[in-house]
C-alpha cells in the first residue's frame, strides 16, 4: 500500500494529471452514489461504527481478563487453546483472504450484523450463568455497548439502503446447555465465545476501515482506491 503513495505525491505533472483523470473516470461508478448528492452520506456513521469497534475491543480486553481469571488457569493463560467442541454454532470471524476482500458492501455489513446479533445473544446467556455480581455488572455493561454497535451497523445499512437481515424462524441461537453439558464444557464454550468476540472485533475494525475509505470524497478516493488494491 505504501508503494503507491510516492507515485501520487506529484499529481500536478502532466502524466500524473492524465493518470489521475483516467483513474477517476474509470472508477467513478464504483463510488457510492450518495457522495455525489453532496450530503454527508454514511461516512460519519461508518466512522462512528469503526470507533465503536475499537472501543469495544478495549472494553473486551478487561472483561475477558476478569472472566478468564474467574474460570481459572489454564483458561487465563495466553496460549491456551482448547478443542472447539460445543462452539460450532458460534459465528466465525476467520475467513479466506480473497473471500474477505471480494465481499461487497452489503454482504460485508450483513455478516457483521448477523455475527454480533448471535454473539450478543450468547453473551446474555453467559450473563445469566455468571456467579458473581461484579461479573454480571461487567457483562451487562458490555452487552449494552455491543447493542450500541449493532444499532450503529444497522444505521450504516439503512443509510446505504440495505435491508436488515431478519432471523429465519428456527435459526435463532438459543443458549440451552444440554442435560449432559458439564461445567468444564461450559467453561470451554465461554472461552470460545470470548475468543470469537475478540476476533470479530479485530475483523470489524478492518471491515469498517475498508468501508470508510470507499466512502471518501472522489478526489481523495483515487489515491486510496489504488491503495486499496495493493492491500
Amino acid at each position: 500500500m505504501d508503494s503507491w503513495y510516492p507515485r501520487m505525491a506529484k499529481p500536478w505533472d502532466s502524466w500524473g494529471m492524465l493518470a489521475c483523470l483516467c483513474t477517476v473516470l474509470w472508477h467513478l461508478p464504483a463510488v457510492p452514489a450518495l457522495n455525489r448528492t453532496g450530503d454527508l452520506g454514511p461516512g460519519p456513521s461508518i466512522q462512528k461504527t469503526y470507533d465503536l469497534t475499537r472501543y469495544l475491543e478495549h472494553q473486551l480486553r478487561s472483561l475477558a481478563g476478569t472472566y478468564l481469571n474467574y474460570l481459572g488457569p489454564p483458561f487465563n493463560e495466553p496460549d491456551f487453546n482448547p478443542p472447539r467442541l460445543g462452539a460450532e454454532t458460534l459465528p466465525r470471524a476467520t475467513v479466506d483472504l480473497e473471500v474477505w476482500r471480494s465481499l461487497n458492501d452489503k454482504l460485508r455489513l450483513t455478516q457483521n450484523y448477523e455475527a454480533y446479533s448471535h454473539l450478543l445473544c450468547y453473551l446474555r446467556g453467559l450473563n445469566r450463568q455468571a456467579a458473581t455480581a461484579e461479573l454480571r455488572r461487567s457483562l451487562a455493561h458490555f452487552c449494552t455497548s455491543l447493542q450500541g454497535l449493532l444499532g450503529s451497523i444497522a444505521g450504516v445499512m439503512a443509510a446505504l439502503g440495505y435491508p436488515l437481515p431478519q432471523p429465519l424462524p428456527g435459526t435463532e441461537p438459543t443458549w440451552t446447555p444440554g442435560p449432559a453439558h458439564s461445567d468444564f464444557l461450559q467453561k470451554m464454550d465461554d472461552f470460545w465465545l470470548l475468543k470469537e468476540l475478540q476476533t470479530w472485533l479485530w475483523r470489524s475494525a478492518k471491515d469498517f476501515n475498508r468501508l470508510k475509505k470507499k466512502m471518501q470524497p472522489p478526489a481523495a478516493a483515487v489515491t486510496l482506491h489504488l491503495g486499496a488494491h495493493g492491500f
Binding site: N81, P83, R84, A131, A133, F184, Q198
Partner: protein, 441 residues
Amino acid sequence: MPAGRRGPAAQSARRPPPLLPLLLLCVLGAPRAGSGAHTAVISPQDPTLLIGSSLQATCSVHGDPPGATAEGLYWTLNGRRLPPELSRVLNTSTLALALANLNGSRQQSGDNLVCHARDGSILAGSCLYVGRVTNHAGISQHGAETVLSALLPLQVPPEKPFNISCWSKNMKDLTCRWTPGAHGETFLHTNYSLKYKLRWYGQDNTCEEYHTVGPHSCHIPKDLALFTPYEIWVEATNRLGSARSDVLTLDILDVVTTDPPPDVHVSRVGGLEDQLSVRWVSPPALKDFLFQAKYQIRYRVEDSVDWKVVDDVSNQTSCRLAGLKPGTVYFVQVRCNPFGIYGSKKAGIWSEWSHPTAASTPRSAPCSVCLSLRLILPVLASLLPSPHSTRTWLRPQESGSWRRCGGGAPSFPRPPHLPRGAAGPGAQLGCCSGPQGGPGP
C-alpha cells in the same frame, strides 16, 4: 506448562496481529485443535468435595482411530502438571489419579482438572468444587441440617424462600416481601418470582414489578379482588433447580395500610411551658370507605433517640402533649391505622410515620419573684369564680410544680396535691382531652 497446539485464533491477546498473515494462515490450513481428535470422559464429573478429603478420578479415552490408549496421557490441575507418581494406568484406555488432602478451590468457578493427550491437547476436563462444611442449625428453616458450602461459592439448587409478608396501600395494590433461603444470592444467580392466585379460582398470576422495597420484594399494582383470599408464594430458580416457599393465604382487607396523616402541625399552647398541641388531618385516601382511624403519636427531645409514644388516640385529629420540658425542641410524628374496614373489628397495618415536625416549648426566665408569683397567683385565682367547667388535671412534672391543661383558672374543688415525681421519665403520657379533646383546631 502444557499448551494446546497453536491455532489461528490463539495469538496473544495483547496486540491484534495483522489481518493478512492471520487470514493466510487460515488459507494454508493451520492445524486445528480437536479435528478428528480423540476425546475422553473424566469421572467424577464436576464433583463437590470437602477440604482435606481425597479424590480418585479416572480419564477414559475413546476415539475412532486406533491408538486411543492411555499411554502418554497426563493430568493437570489449574494449569499445573501433576506429578506422575499420582497417576497410574488402569487399563489400555483409562488413566487414574489419586489426590489426597485437597485444598479449598482456588477460584469460584471450581478447580480445573484436565486430562491431556501425549501431545498436550485437551481431551476432557472436570471442575472440582472443594469447600468446607457449614452447620446451618438454627439458621436454616430446616432445623439442624449440615449443609456443604464451599469456601468459595458452591453450586446448589436454591433453598426455599420464607417469611412472606404483604400489605395493601389503601386497598389498591399489594406489596410483598420475603426472605431468601439460607444460601441467599451469594452462590449461583437466583431468580425469584412471586406468584399469586385467588383461592377457588384456578389461574396463577406472576408479579412483575420487583425490588420496590428492597431486593426481595414485589409490587402488584392493580386488578386485585376483595373479599376472596389470595394464595401467595415465591419461587426461587437457579441453573441447578428451583424451590418454592410455603403458601401464604391472606385477605386484602386484613392487610390494609394507608398514608401517614398529612399536615401535622405542632404549636405551643399559649405560654404553657410544658405543653404542645398537635393537630393533623386524617389521610384522605380512605375517606370513601367505612373505617375508623386509630392514631399513634411519638415525640422526642431534639438530641435524644428515645421516643415517647402516645397510644390509643382514637378517631380524633388533635392532641395535647403535656409534661414536657420547658424551652426544649421536640420532634413529633403521627401515624395512622385504618381500623375496622367495612365494619370488621380488626386493625389494619400501621402507616409510616409522618415527617417529623418540630416545635419548642416556651421558657420563661428564671426569677424568684416569678416563682413566688407562680405559686401565689393560682391560689388567688382559685378564690375567684370561673366560667370553665371542664378541666382535666394532669400528673405533675418531675419538678413537682403544677401544670394544668385548659389554661384557665382553676375552680373548686382544689386539686389534691400530688407527690413529686409521679410522672416518671418513662411514663406514657396521654393526650390532654376533655370531651372534645381540648381546644379544637
